[in-house]
Symmetry: C2
Subunit: 505 residues, 2 copies
């Protein structure tokens, strides 16, 4: 019997995907649960991923004409009430602030004191409070458009949480714009959706489908919600970003009115759009393997780690000197508009343990440097994405380090795309559809179909049925997906959409 191959992460993806995900995060030291229910601590390695995500996205937002601002953490309950669907969507799970002081009671215990006149909720999203401010800022069409983004924390009191994917508090950005015409607001909604697509594909190396949500899945209060949907390695979908066309719903609720060029009083047209720390979960689940995290070079906090091999005391100095020289040469290079990030790990620990620590952290390239490598002025280079190892003359490596990283970035994207395409199926009958989403093996529920593309009549009844029977939802109606090719496979009614269906996070 062949000996089973040992992996750094146990269980493997195939053995237990949800637990594998937790173990990858733990092994890479990205984040952990805090003692505050549902709130995570984002540890330095995880936070540096968020910083890189922020850096790249922030530049894209500014290049498309947006500026940042900051609005209050708290929202008066009466504001939430202004938009009927919105309050319905967010009142159920929110942190409610009711007091402004603690005092000692007669038993010496600290208890809430000084009740507020009106309770406040911690923002789950900021349409209502930002809308209130916009209503003060906008008088005339000359005050429009307003193109503002906010980087902030938000809170939704979710019952079941999972690091990065669903936590009570999370970090995100929320863009909020107001326009003088429907057309302009619709264009903005599409523009930001495409910014998210660009970021997902070209920075995260995560292929996504751009589409529109059904009525049942859209943002509470929106006219239309657009999204980017990605496939994880358990073939489930992850909604990775959303862009909402809000019509005049929130302008009406918040009274954002302007005097048009024609001198008529009109409600503004608004949009909102956001991505969150959930993206980190998506990045993990798209690329990582049974040895841990795999990072796309464009977002990696560290591109190259240099591992000096220090067996003999008398060689230490010369090896370290060579490594330092190499490190500073590499640090002078640029990759994807940033300084190339390189460091030497000279910690006093076993070589195998040290190497594995960087494998588990997902660093794209490792270079081992020992006396023999120095003698031949050659570097022993290992790629994280495919495990490939080869000796490369030092000068040659320095000349093409950025190209190698580009190649890793490209390989990750094409691998993820191939995986998604292989697990996306055009389905023509309800029977095939149910078979596709029914696990072949009860003990491995992750081995279900993936993305199903099918004609659909657009009815809420079909959505309810699929959610109940299969835990499957319409992920989106792809924007680039074309018209339905026939009747609804569930009802035989006229096909309204050719939609993407999947189980999801």
């Amino acid at each position: 019997m062949a000996k089973e191959k040992r992996t750094a992460i146990e269980p493997t993806r195939e053995q237990d995907y949800p637990e594998w995900y937790q173990q990858v995060i733990k092994a890479a030291d990205l984040a952990e649960n805090s003692p505050v229910r549902g709130c995570m601590v984002i540890k330095p390695w995880g936070y540096s991923l968020w910083e890189n995500i922020q850096g790249a996205l922030d530049k894209m937002f500014k290049d498309t004409g947006h500026t940042n601002a900051y609005f209050p953490l708290f929202i008066p309950v009466s504001y939430l009430e202004k938009e009927a669907e919105h309050v319905e969507g967010f009142a159920k799970e929110c942190a409610v602030v009711t007091h402004s002081r603690l005092e000692l009671n007669s038993e010496g215990k600290l208890v809430p004191a000084s009740p507020l006149d009106e309770p406040l909720i911690v923002r789950p999203t900021s349409e209502t409070i930002i809308g209130e401010m916009y209503s003060r800022w906008v008088q005339s069409y000359r005050d429009l458009p307003i193109l503002i983004n906010q980087w902030a924390n938000v809170v939704r009191w979710e019952m079941r949480t999972r690091l990065f994917l669903r936590t009570a508090e999370f970090l995100w950005q929320e863009g909020h714009t107001a326009h003088a015409s429907e057309e302009e607001a619709r264009q903005e909604t599409q523009r930001m959706l495409r910014v998210y697509e660009d970021f997902a594909v070209n920075y995260m190396a995560m292929p996504v489908i751009c589409g529109r949500k059904t009525e049942g899945e859209k943002f509470p209060g929106a006219v239309d919600t657009y999204c980017i949907e990605a496939m994880m390695q358990d073939r489930k979908a992850l909604q990775a970003g959303t862009s909402h066309f809000l019509g005049q719903n929130f302008a009406r609720a918040s009274n954002i009115k302007y005097l048009s060029e024609a001198g008529k009083e009109e409600y503004a047209w608004t949009t909102s759009w956001g991505v969150s720390t959930r993206l980190i979960g998506g990045m993990i689940m798209t690329h990582s393997d049974d040895d841990g995290l795999v990072l796309p070079p464009k977002l990696a906090p560290l591109h190259i780690v240099i591992l000096p091999i220090l067996h003999k005391d008398d060689q230490k100095q010369s090896v370290m000197q060579y490594c330092q020289q190499l490190c500073s040469e590499l640090q002078g290079l640029k990759y994807a508009g940033r300084d190339l990030k390189v460091k030497i790990d000279s910690r006093d620990m076993r070589g195998g343990e040290k190497t594995w620590s960087w494998i588990k952290k997902g660093v794209p390239l490792r270079i081992e440097v020992g006396p023999r490598d120095i003698a031949s002025d050659t570097l022993f280079v290992a790629r994280r994405d495919n495990g490939q190892k080869q000796s490369i003359p030092r000068a040659e490596f320095i000349a093409k380090a950025a190209d190698i990283l580009d190649d890793i970035q490209a390989q990750l994207l094409s691998r993820a795309k191939a995986y998604r395409d292989a697990n996306t199926k055009q389905i023509d009958t309800k029977e095939d559809f149910y078979a596709f989403f029914t696990p072949k093996n009860e003990r491995k529920p992750e081995i279900h179909g993936g993305f199903a593309v099918a004609n659909y009549d657009g009815s809420a009844e079909v959505e309810d049925m699929l959610r109940k029977d299969l835990k499957v939802t319409v992920r989106c109606i792809p924007l680039d997906g074309g018209a339905p090719t026939g009747k609804c496979i569930f009802t035989g009614n006229e096909g309204k959409y050719r939609a993407v269906f999947a189980k999801s996070y």
Copy 2:
């Protein structure tokens, strides 16, 4: 009678300093009060100052070996209770979360529902929750030091608020470090104090005194609090940053223990240090004048604004073309490690109004470009700091633009330093001290002394007396201030410190 000079800001500093401050903020469109009590909205121009502050400080933190991370917004009340002085200091003004849902009552009103088992407070500062995490992360001396910073929002339910200076919610950074020795923790405390000094002086052009707080003024739970103190133009002091040596107080409260190299179980030594959006208030009050905001170039969101003079239709195209060429040449330059920020303001509005809008926003340099300037290839350049205007040949200006900005930065610092020094007095008797802090003119309470330097016995009684009689506090015991030169001027006791006294924000 001479006609009074009109200023863009009314009232002037001399007429009503607090109101002048509010009007400078309004005229520059930096921030405004929100409908949520005590919470401000930081508008794009104000937020871009914060982004520049963040960018510069974040680099300084990383250069001194720190990394960023993120901890929960909420702190269980029981955590706050762990450190006796700490809870005393923060329980009085905090936002208390008591429920996790809203529901409609019988009158159709949304009311809090699903009470929490234990109330949570919104972090006023994070020593306790971060301490809890560190206690999990630290086992051995090998796990130390931990050098982490967090950029976050915090909430303190202040009764009287003022934009940037004191608001219920504000943005800040809080560094939290843990060390294996007292000496190392003390060094860290000093290192970060000096980072703040460096930033205040070299970026904000705001001279500061580095010093230690008295027992009465230190952070609740700290062993020693160090601070940077700056003088505003009303001669009051602003505490602009603090660095706390926490000893083993919080390590004991949070149980941060480690096994030392000698195999003994020990409590760690911790520090914390922070600056906040208050710095923006300090920057405003240090440099701005009766025409509005004056920005130090190193933190300005925009360095140069180009104002095309477009009187005649037939010249518009050539003027705009010249401006665009100039703008792109300037945008290719670097200033203080950043790209030079330049824009053309071609809004259709009166020239005077347009010019004043940029004066009020504090942009360091304005360039007017009209047909005659183009004919002579000369730029009409105005400096915001001193109002100086001169024609400079285009090529010459491009060659020395960065130098001019450097000069503005240097002038702002030396002007602020001269102002502070002129209003700092060495005082030798209690009588002189009281006279120094007693307004000469009841209607102009801002015309009091400034900073008083005096020998002091270090007693709480003196501090209480001065607070009560004069609203004056010991701002700090300067680190570079030397030993007392004689007896305490208030009590005749042995002089313990030579301290800086002032009224303060």
